[in-house]
Structures are given as structure tokens and as C-alpha cells.
Symmetry: C2
């Protein structure tokens, strides 16, 4: 088999989602060269195309985090065991999955150091030194960092021993301001997911069984994957005064009295890349939301005869010049691959718009644009491209959100009893909304019988108009990642 | 003492550089709130103002790295000992300063894992899997990451157990292309330091005694600090085929023959922040180059009577609107500090331009700009501010480079013998250039007698017109960080 045939097969060999979703996921991550397993158990290598997605996620989310008044810092990677030990629930939740440093050079350390699984302890320690007066509040910090959780079962982007994330840590004078911040950042995450990643999410409160180790309350945004399983896409925690009390983080209020601060923490991770893949992908491969696509449009030149080659490539230069830096454009002028092969490759890689330039297009002074969504074609005159191409990208962004929203609507059912719920999950997946009184034993029973967990109590119950509200509103159940 | 008096003293208490440079450095880092020591030995916390500098450094350098064709990736934090062991010189250089992970959760690991001190080993391992044909070359990757070296003596930004950096790792088909890349990235670093950080540097080759563990040749850029000590600001290594041979990184050439690749690696780190501080700072504190200053201009409103307050603050709003996002502007309208105190504070923090707005300025429809460099004053009409302010920033950027270049010229001497060299370093510091034949025992002798080390053999010997060239050109010696 020739090199080209091998590569063609490589693209065509993608498993259908309906045959084996999990296999489809693994294949698409590897074939689109998003990530690879590293030679350390459960750790990943993020390759340029996958990292390009992360860079766009970082840039867009960072702007939203800064627009809400936060500043970035960098805290150390290692946390002394004694600091981690201070908050009892926190250490119980995280110590079993910490990687431990025991030696520096050839010398054993006096105290073990954990590679941060999250940084509440180290922020707590520093906050107790930095915060003195009410004038120092609110303290609104964030960091972009790597963290490590020694997971047994791993999956690229979804659950790896090391992953990248941002973690916000804030301190406030009052419980009210603290809770406002928790909901503000949850809303930042919701808007980011829906507007930039084109992923519709339900925002809500976690039940006690699912909350963060050391938090008073955990809020979450929950997305639905194409296989009907839910994915927790981001969390925002109200830490109350748990950490303030054990780390002694106090401030002098206006009356000169010492008070404990109220804290929040919130984070999203490289898991979002997994969410993008599983929300939008189809049997031809990835479908990337234009706002985070490393390549927003790819130009594929087409010619049969050598004399056509030059005029086509000349025209491609004009296309590039016309578009400028309005769009992240890539020209694929490799000779060794056919246009057809390139179409397959860029569909696999989820590039939102393909721009075909053949001799007929050149003669017309136009290009043929093909959207990754439904392969919609349109001939665009060269002089209109600079304005039309961004519109087309916007169209793809909206179409992906609409398609994911429709899928979610089709896969959100209702139940009024445990029996309902069981029947549903025998045949189907997706979200099931039910009236909720806060019954923890029912939550446990549903989990035991259906493997669906309580994803959240949605804040906006209007989205579930047909569901009666219980004393605690509505609960959303789903099987999940 | 009142809170305000305490804070005033806090600023005025800065040690003079000439009294104790090292103390001046530590004080300015802490007082300007750039960084703090963490509760882990030798690790630092980078605070918002220091991290703002790093974010600007990242953004500007990353653009230069991408403009030369490189893409970013993320490699894992942990490196199995067996991988690190493969290259003999490399492991000998780095293993003694590795932090070792020995446990995951409660279980001991089968093999120790090093927190990366640098990532040649892990890139080497992945490159052997990714590179097959000459078409895969050159492979031009970079990563921004944290690394760890278990140093005994640490100093914020200059030498800490953990630091942030970028590390480029590339693979090439031929030795020529490899060497071109090494020099291309050295030039990227030189241009970045001189144009963005306003730090003049000498670019040159390291002697064998100072080269990177595992490299064939190391190139460096060397800067001069205000105390006359040199600082290595960035390095670019020609790794030859050392790693290719031990990691078996081969490609099939056009003739179908297996060949080993040729590799480079290159990096700069948060150490650059230390270089900026020690190149430009003066007895009033930091002086930040506008291109990387988190705050480029600070507006200080001034009023005595309450009736002035409103008109001044109204005018400040107009100033803000006029400047827009052309300049990173900060308005300090805190009531509890006097204008004079704010002047001191922002001088300490090195803000390039101060904009004073008092009742007289408002009456004139102008603001008073004061440059951090030589406190140069100029009244700028409001309508001219949007164009004048960027010009003033440019003036500060140039003045800092000119001042650092002049300082370096005054502190670059010449010697023709060991005796010369000894006499020089008895009384003075700075660089000393001497003709060089490549005599390693002379290099060792100079180091033993003067504590000056061979910083580099400068590539551009024209800068040392008065110095005769030896068989290996010219060698630059200095005491160093």
C-alpha cells in the first residue's frame, strides 16, 4: 500500500460514534493529533493542534476572568503535607490521589511534599500573610497551572494524572459578597461555554454527596455529550470560612474588629477539550467551534495540469492577502496529497471552513467555501471574502450551538419517581429532571439502580417548565464522565 | 505611627544600591510586591504585579517564537528515571538537583519520577515516535512550563527551586539546518532582550566548561547588572546527535536511508524579571521598560478642597476615555493616600509615566506627565494625550536602553594577560574582554584568582574594536549571577 493510500485509510478508518463512542473518541484524539499518552502512567502530551485549542481557550477565558476584576499569580507546585493536612475534609478528599515528593537531589526531605492536586492550602497560607485590613478585600486572584491527581483509570483530556487548568481563589469580607462571587464566576463559565465553545450547559448546585472536599457549597455547569452522558465542565465553590479558620485568614473590619474572611474557588481544565470533542464531533471527525479552532479556514488549491498550478497558486496568494489576519487561515499546498485526501483530513480535524480554489474558481475570480457543518457550499467572490468569511465562521459557531442544544432538548426527559427513572435508564441516556425534596437516600438509590448521579439542582428551573418543583426545586440526573 | 506614615516609611526605607545591592534587590522585590517566598524551601510565589511582567514577557516572546515557525505543546511534568538516565552527561548534570516523586497516593512507585529539570529526555522519547520521514522535519516545538531544580541557595527570580520558562526543542535533517536554528533562536532572544526588555546583551559561544549538560555547543546572551555582575539571560544549545542516538530518533531521507536527526534546545525563564530589575532599577526602586510594564501610566488625581474633587475626577474620566486601550493605564483614586505618597509608590513600582491631574491642569484642559526616567515633566493637552502618551512611553523605552548601554560601555574593559585581569577585578567589576586562544587552563586560573568566569566568546567581535583577536577570537570574563 502506498503512503497516500495508507493515510487515506487512516482517515476512513474512523469508528462510527454509534458503533463504539468511546473508541471513536480515542481514535479521533489520536488521528487528529490532539494528544498522546506520555511515558509516565496516565500523563498526556498535548500536541500542537490540541494545544492550539487550549491556547484559544486560555486567551478567551482569561479575558473574561480579568474583565471581572481578577489578576493572575503563580503559586508553587509543591505543598507541604502539614499544610494540606490543615483542612480535614480537604485532605481526606485529596491526599489519596496525591503524588508525593520525598527526595531533593540525593537527600530525603524532612517533610513530604505533594504535587498540588488543587491549591486551596497554599493560597490559604499566603492569604493569611497578605490580608490585614478590610481595604485588602476583596482579594481576587487566579492562576493557570498544572495539577496532578494520581487517577487509576485515565483517558486523554477527560481524566489524566496531570492536567492543565485555571483555579481562581478569592477572599471577601462578607458571606453575601462571597456568594455573589461564586455565582458571578459560574455565570462567566456558563457564558464562556455557550458563547465560545458552543456547548449548552445547565448551571446548578451540587448535592452534598458530590461537592468539593472542603467546600460549603459547590456549583457546577453540566454539559451533555453525544453519547448521552453528562460531563461536569466547570465548578465554582463557596468555601465559607472553612479554610479561613484553619489557616487563620482574618482582617480588621472598619470598626477595628478581627473577622474571618469568606472564600471561593473555581476552576475549569483541559477537560473542556474533551467536552468540545464529544459535544460537536461526528462520524467524519472533529467539528471545532470557530472561536477556539486553531485553524478557522483551510485553503485547498486544486489543479490537474501543470499549467493550471501556477495560476491557482497565484490566486491563493490573493486569497491570503484578502483575508489578512481577520481569520486564522492555513494554506495546504502540499504536493504529495490529493485535494480529496485533504478534504478528509481537515474534516477529521474539524476545521470550520474549507476554501477550495480550482481553475474554474480562478476564472470566476471566486472561491468555493464549504462549511464543516452540513457541508454547505457557497461560491464567494474574492473581493467579498474578507467580510463573508467571518460571517461564515459565525454561522458555523451558531449552527454548532443550535445542533448541540437540539440534541440536549431531545435527550432531556422527566421523571416523577424512582420507577420512572429506572425505566428511562434501561433504554436511554441523557438528562432526567425530577421534582426534588432533598432526599439523600433517594439520590443514593437512583445511583445504585441506574448508575445515574445527581448532576445538579438547576438554578434556572424555567428550562424545565413541565416539571413540578419539589421542596428543593428540581434535580437533574444523568450517567456521567 | 499612623498607617499612612508607616507606608511612607516603607517606601523611603529602600536601601541605596551603592550601600548594598543585594539588599536593595531583595527589598525592591518585596516592596514592589513582585514575589514572595513560599512555604516550600526555595520556591516562590509570583504576585500579580510580578506575574503581570511575566505575562507581557510571554506574550511578546511567544509572538517572536511563533513568527519563526514554532508551535507550542505541553509535555508531562514527570520524567521516569530510566529516561533521564539515557544521556550520560545530561543525567550527571541534572540528577543531583532533581526533586523525586516516589509515591502515588499511598502506593510506592515501581520507578522514581523526576520533576522535570528540563525536558530533553521527554521530547527525545516522543520525537522517536513522531518522526519517521524527512517530511516530518524540521520539527519545531516549544513549551511554556514550570521546571524544578533543587538548588541549595535561592534568590527570588534569580535562582529558585521552581521557576517558569519556555523551552524550545527542535529536530532537523542536517547539521547545517540545526546550527542555523541555534543561531536563529539566539538572535530572537537578543532582539527580544534589547527591543522589549531594553537590556543590551552580548551574544556568544560558551566555553566547554560552561556548556549545557548533554549539548555539543551552548550559545548565550549575557547582560550586565547595575552592580557590575553579569547575568546569563538565555541560552541556545546545539545538541548535535547526542540525544538522537540514545533515544533512537531517526528519519528516512529522500534516498530511503535511515539517518539520525540533529537537535537544538533553547530557553529563557522568570530569571529575566530579575535581569530587568537589576539592569534598570535605581535608588527610588524599579524602572520598568514600557513594553513589559503591567501599568504603563498611572493617573494620580490631586485636590485640596472638596469642591475641586469632583471636577478633577470628572477630568480623569476624560483622560481615561481619551487614552482608551492604547496604553495600560491605571487610575489611583484611593482617598487614604496623599498624592506625594502615591508618587513614591509608583516610582518604587517603576511605572514609566505618571499623569498628574490637579485643579490647575483641569483649568488648562491638560495633564502633567512625569517620566520615571529623570523625572522629565511635560504638560500635555487632553486632546493630544492619545498620540503623545505612546510617544512618551517609547521615549522611556529608548532612554532605558541607552542608559543601560552606556553603563555597559563604561563597565567593559580589556586585558591582555592574567595579571591585567587580576588587577582589574581587585578594584572593579563589569566585563573584561581579552584575546582568546582557547586555553582551558588559563580560563580555570582566571576563575580561581578573580572569581570571574568566561561568560562567552562574542559572535560579534566588532563591538571590541580595540582588542586583538586570539586564535579563538575574544573571550569575555565577568563575575556573574
Amino acid at each position: 500500500m502506498s503512503d497516500t493510500e495508507q493515510k487515506k485509510q487512516f482517515v476512513e478508518d474512523l469508528t462510527d460514534q454509534s458503533d463504539d463512542f468511546s473508541r471513536w473518541y480515542n481514535e479521533v484524539v489520536r488521528k487528529a493529533q490532539l494528544a498522546d499518552y506520555a511515558p509516565v502512567r496516565g500523563c498526556m502530551v498535548i500536541r500542537p493542534y490540541g494545544f492550539g485549542m487550549w491556547e484559544n481557550i486560555q486567551r478567551l477565558l482569561d479575558a473574561r476572568i480579568k474583565a471581572t476584576g481578577h489578576q493572575n499569580v503563580y503559586m508553587p507546585l509543591l505543598i507541604p503535607e502539614s499544610l494540606l493536612d490543615k483542612e480535614a475534609e480537604h485532605v481526606e478528599g485529596f491526599a489519596p490521589e496525591c503524588a508525593w515528593v520525598t527526595h531533593g537531589g540525593s537527600e530525603p526531605l524532612e517533610e513530604r511534599l505533594a504535587i498540588r492536586p488543587t491549591s486551596e492550602a497554599i493560597f490559604g497560607h499566603m492569604y493569611s500573610r497578605w490580608i490585614e485590613s478590610y481595604r485588602d478585600l476583596p482579594l481576587l486572584l487566579n492562576q493557570w497551572a498544572n495539577v496532578m491527581r494520581w487517577e487509576k483509570v485515565t483517558r486523554l483530556f477527560l481524566r489524566t494524572a496531570e492536567f492543565l487548568w485555571q483555579e481562581g481563589h478569592t477572599a471577601h469580607a462578607t458571606a453575601e459578597e462571597c456568594q455573589e462571587e461564586v455565582l458571578r464566576m459560574l455565570e462567566v463559565y456558563r457564558a464562556f461555554c455557550e458563547e465560545d465553545l458552543a456547548i449548552p450547559v445547565y448551571a446548578g448546585l451540587k448535592s452534598d454527596s458530590e461537592k468539593f472536599a472542603g467546600a460549603e457549597r459547590t456549583y457546577t455547569i453540566e454539559a451533555l455529550m453525544r453519547d448521552g452522558k453528562a460531563l461536569q465542565a466547570g465548578t465554582s465553590h463557596n468555601l465559607g470560612q472553612h479554610f479561613a479558620k484553619v489557616f487563620d485568614i482574618t482582617y480588621q473590619d472598619e470598626a477595628g474588629k478581627r473577622q474571618f474572611v469568606h472564600q471561593t474557588s473555581w476552576g475549569v481544565s483541559t477537560r473542556l477539550i474533551g467536552a468540545v470533542i464529544m459535544t460537536h464531533g461526528d462520524d467524519a471527525g472533529l467539528r471545532l467551534p470557530p472561536r477556539i479552532a486553531p485553524i478557522q479556514a483551510v485553503v485547498v488549491p486544486i489543479w490537474r495540469k501543470d499549467e493550471e498550478r501556477q495560476s491557482v497558486l497565484e490566486f491563493v496568494k490573493k486569497v491570503k492577502a484578502a483575508v489578512g489576519d481577520r481569520v486564522r487561515l492555513h494554506v495546504d499546498d502540499r504536493d504529495q496529497y490529493s485535494p480529496g485526501w485533504k478534504y478528509n483530513e481537515y474534516e477529521m480535524r474539524g476545521v470550520p471552513v474549507r476554501i477550495e480554489v480550482g481553475p474554474k474558481d480562478v476564472a470566476k475570480g471566486a472561491v468555493m467555501t464549504v462549511l464543516r457543518v452540513e457541508r454547505k457550499k457557497e461560491s464567494v467572490p474574492l473581493e467579498a471574502l474578507a467580510t463573508r468569511l467571518p460571517e461564515l465562521l459565525d454561522e458555523v459557531q451558531k449552527a454548532l450551538f443550535a445542533s448541540a442544544s437540539e440534541f440536549r432538548a431531545q435527550h432531556t426527559a422527566t421523571a416523577t419517581s424512582l420507577a420512572n427513572m429506572e425505566r428511562h435508564f434501561e433504554a436511554k441516556r441523557g438528562f432526567v429532571a425530577m421534582p426534588w425534596d432533598g432526599d439523600e437516600s433517594l439520590e443514593a438509590e437512583i445511583k445504585a439502580r441506574t448508575s445515574a448521579t445527581l448532576r445538579c439542582l438547576p438554578l434556572d428551573t424555567n428550562a424545565f417548565a413541565g416539571v413540578e418543583k419539589g421542596r428543593k426545586g428540581i434535580a437533574l440526573f444523568a450517567r456521567s464522565y
